[in-house]
């Protein structure tokens, strides 16, 4: 792999780690909503988490395309 490609893969890895961190936070919020009998909040966190996962997939597709 060329140096430029390695750099891109590293940068995308950092972005995905950031998204993953946000998802972990959302998971804790969802668990809190479960305990507090608040399904509305749990669904909002689920929707946001799915959006973040979609972003991760787009980043990965970008790396694969290069």
């Amino acid at each position: 792999m060329r140096r430029g490609q390695r750099t891109v893969a590293s940068a995308v890895g950092v972005y995905v780690i950031v998204l993953l961190s946000l998802q972990i936070f959302l998971l804790t919020v969802a668990l809190d909503a479960l305990q507090g009998d608040d399904p509305g909040l749990a669904w909002v966190t689920a929707a946001l988490s799915v959006v973040l996962a979609g972003g991760s997939i787009l980043f990965y597709r970008y790396v694969r395309a290069r």
Partner: protein, 163 residues
């Protein structure tokens, strides 16, 4: 390995290097993305469970004779099931209120401080209003679970736990 499985470039360049079998950055990103999908699925599962799980709000039942609780005193009982500790308080103005005894922070059992008219969680010093159950101090974010109660004649009845 069967020679047909070997890629063409490997036949042309049949040399290996140390670390060649290590996980590449691209593969690492793929694992991260798989984890991301797993978190999203887990979050959706929690939301679905939160919507679909049955919640027992309890049914009306007799709790205790009112005369057994002095004004400003508290009475411990279980509601809606025997695994749910609850606390009934007879306020100084003779009203009765009842709450789940589980602190909404991490589930420790709260006790009633008659002097301050507050529910106090000893684990992390969460403080709730003894009349309404709302949070006054400490780490809890949600009020105590309220239980509807009513005095029928001389007896206190629990009518149901609020969602």
């Amino acid at each position: 390995m069967n020679t047909s499985d070997v890629p063409g470039w490997r036949r042309d360049f049949p040399f290996t290097a140390e670390g060649e079998d290590d996980v590449t950055r691209r593969e690492f990103v793929r694992y991260l993305v798989l984890a991301s999908g797993g978190f999203a699925a887990a979050n959706a599962a929690i939301a679905a469970w939160s919507s679909l799980r049955p919640i027992n709000h309890g049914r009306a039942r007799r709790i205790v004779e009112l005369e057994r609780i002095p004004a400003g005193g508290a009475y411990l009982f279980r509601y809606p099931t025997k695994d749910d500790p609850a606390i009934l308080v007879r306020l100084r103005d003779d009203r009765v209120v009842a709450f789940s005894q589980k602190c909404t922070h991490l589930g420790c059992v709260v006790y009633y401080s008659a002097d301050e008219q507050r529910m106090i969680c000893p684990c992390h010093e969460g403080v709730f209003d003894g009349r309404t159950g709302r949070v006054l101090e400490g780490p809890p974010q949600r009020p105590l679970g309220k239980i509807e109660v009513e005095v029928r004649g001389s007896t206190v009845w629990a009518l149901g736990a609020e969602a």
